[in-house]
Symmetry: C2
């Protein structure tokens, strides 16, 4: 297509600095150039055809474009972007249903349009026609666009035989309060960026690309810390004030890829499995849950009571049994009264991988805040997104345990749910889902 | 109170770099220290008691805290923060009504609590008790908290005689579609920060401070570009893709203070006027309008048609009569057909200060996006906030003109409105509104 992605197989961040050691630990990432003086960072933007590079501003004006703007994530690669990419400050989740009469052919054309748009926008270029200009003047800002297929997609396109068993509906959980209108959907798109207008621009472009082929089903907005706002990049905090994501598998772990990604390349030459057919090679499954936090209740607890619920120190994320955030909790330790220091129903105990048959998932959430409801309670919480090679060994067993006995459950409410098959990344000249739609 | 604000009279940004030349042009701002190596920037954080400085993280972790996090705006000063402060990436607007039975005394106590919380949080410190920890690990992130009084506040507190005539209700406009439940209110708080969690943390702290004295009336969320994402710091773009705020008065203008701020210091020693009593010295009036953009209609227009509506080039913000963004438009210029190049109903013509008796206001908006409505149209647009010494010479005459003949009006809808008296800044040991409430 163009020359912006000639290192796609080995790199997915093209310029600027990494904001997370976790992301930096991913071997397939490579930094091309380092943002020093910001003028140099500007020069490091790849294609040269992007909004920012094409700007006619004076050098003094350009001097304010930092790595926040210039960082670029590669669209092409073995995996789609937005899975192991460092968390972004702004996110949009959107689901579409195919329109009446639209089938496999229309879906293939849509995924081809979407992939082309994602490639352009992630490089900081305007969309191919009638760009809204909302992202003009900004750099790529670590934009990622990630595409997935829901269970219902396959029957609507006559592709039932290609539907992964891993997409079978999630079991009902006791604590679910799900709004079906905001759950699932034929198609799912995750957009993330470190600039809110760049993210919104992508959302509108993706929506416009649907033409008559698909209609919006639901849409949610989220956020995380701004790059540079915190001195604590290892993990993030959620709106309960908790350190979130401590138990995440690390990209340096030997079995990281096996846990998170489906084996194979998606080229169709692999045999696949009942859980995941060959077209899912290099892909992953996303479980999306809109988890409302009952903050008025939570904030009434003392910090000590909150720590008892979670099993970790709120300030540092360290286990109540001592150490720092990354210290292993001592699950057997008792206090002077003989009580377990980390209670049996503590959230951190239940979600421990070694308490769940070694299952693992990669959490990559956004917080959300949609104002206040009619009772004056905040409509806020977590757009929980987790990634795994197999939901039946990732999300499901953990949620089953949480559903039965998590001390945190009375302070949260799962209000929407989605499960999506996210294929591997597109090759140059190809598009996401091609192995399925043309297989 | 403490030693964090000893330069309050002359500075309101304490450390780090300025992201906007406009803000840098404000003479009362002064940079204390410059963010070079980020470790140095961390050292430049003022009080030393803040979350970030108190962090036990390793130096490697601290190295990612940049000026986005360390920039600190002063709470104390002649004017409240959040008026001439550089625009922030995240904003919350919230209005409260005094609870039944709460009067002047309770309002004074609330403003004292609010001021103490704002001072602490803006310095990057936790709130005085039961902090939620949501901002922990982050720097001040340019947090500002700004307080205002609505028309109804004065009768509820027996202070009718102190009510400025400038707070008389705005006239009805032909194009208004106002939701009263999301308009006005006794008390208004504007929160802005360059980190979304820092802003949310402040919102919850402010809400908690109300105790039983006030109840939430409405709340809105907004955003702007992230610092460093754009090479074009002079102005911002809105969700229509337009450069927004070109006509803003510049702090370097000789009459800037006169246009934006009420004369006097707020100490009560000034005589005041019918429009603005002495307690408003150093204050300003905020007009807040939730302006929905009908983006589906707008985006159907060609860029040329959009430029005809606005009267400016979309790419650069330059007038259609040529030049760059800051070039004066040639309002008499005609094209080969004898038609005005900038049409009579072009938005930029109608809002020109010299077309409105020299009136002026300082626009300082946030964009908003609250998802999609039941028809699939985006609930998105502008949280328009403008500042002026007198709304009858600022917002009102401009909006009257726009109401009659603005080509943009068919693409926008004013859905909520507020008018608030925002007193001058608090002195050390004092609180916002003290001259009114103890006057």
């Amino acid at each position: 297509m163009d020359d912006t992605a000639d290192t796609a197989d080995t790199a997915d961040t093209k310029s600027g600095t990494e904001s997370s050691p976790q992301a930096a630990g991913i071997s397939r990432r490579r930094l091309i150039g380092t943002a020093g003086a910001t003028g140099v960072a500007l020069g490091a933007v790849g294609a040269g055809a992007g909004y920012a590079a094409a700007s006619s501003n004076s050098p003094e004006q350009q001097a304010t474009l930092t790595s926040v703007g210039t960082d670029e994530v590669m669209f092409h690669g073995k995996h789609q972007p937005g899975i192991t990419t460092a968390m972004q400050a702004r996110g949009h989740l959107v689901a579409f249903d195919l329109a009446a009469g639209a089938g496999r052919k229309e879906a293939a054309a849509l995924l081809r349009r979407w992939s082309a748009t994602a490639e352009r926008l992630m490089a900081g270029e305007p969309s191919a026609s009638d760009d809204t200009d909302v992202a003009r003047d900004a750099g790529p800002s670590s934009l990622t666009v990630t595409f997935g297929f829901g269970h219902s997609f396959f029957s609507r396109t006559g592709l039932e035989k290609q539907r992964p068993a891993a997409l079978d509906p999630l079991p009902d959980f006791y604590s679910d309060h799900l709004d079906k209108a905001r759950s699932n959907g034929d198609l799912w798109v995750q957009i993330g960026a470190n600039d809110p207008l760049v993210a919104f621009h992508a959302l509108r472009a993706i929506q416009k690309d649907t033409g008559g082929a698909a209609k919006l089903r639901w849409q949610m907005n989220g956020f995380n810390r701004s790059p540079g706002a915190t001195a604590h990049p290892m993990t993030v905090r959620n709106l309960m004030g908790q350190v979130d994501g401590t138990g995440n598998p690390k990209p340096a772990d030997a079995d990281f890829n096996k846990r998170i990604f489906v084996p194979g390349s998606g080229s169709g030459s692999d045999s696949g499995s009942a859980q995941s057919p060959a077209w899912m090679g290099g892909g992953s499954y996303a479980v999306v849950r809109r988890i409302r936090m009952l903050l008025d209740d939570w904030e009434k607890l003392s910090t000590a009571a909150q720590e008892h619920v979670i099993g970790r120190k709120k300030s540092s994320g360290a286990p109540l049994t001592g150490g720092k955030e990354t210290t292993e909790p001592d699950l057997e330790k008792t206090d002077a009264n003989g009580d377990l220091v980390i209670p049996l129903n503590a959230h951190a105990r239940i979600t421990r991988p070694d308490q769940n048959g070694g299952s693992a998932l990669l959490r990559r959430p956004f917080s959300y805040h949609d104002g206040y409801d009619e009772d004056g309670a905040p409509d806020a919480g977590l757009l929980f997104i987790c990634w795994q090679a197999d939901p039946l060994r990732g999300f499901v067993p953990v949620q089953r345990k949480l559903d039965r006995g998590d001390a945190l459950s009375k302070f949260i409410r799962h209000e929407a749910s989605g499960l999506f098959a996210v294929p591997g990344g597109a090759e140059k000249g190809g598009y996401v889902g091609q192995a399925l739609l043309e297989g």
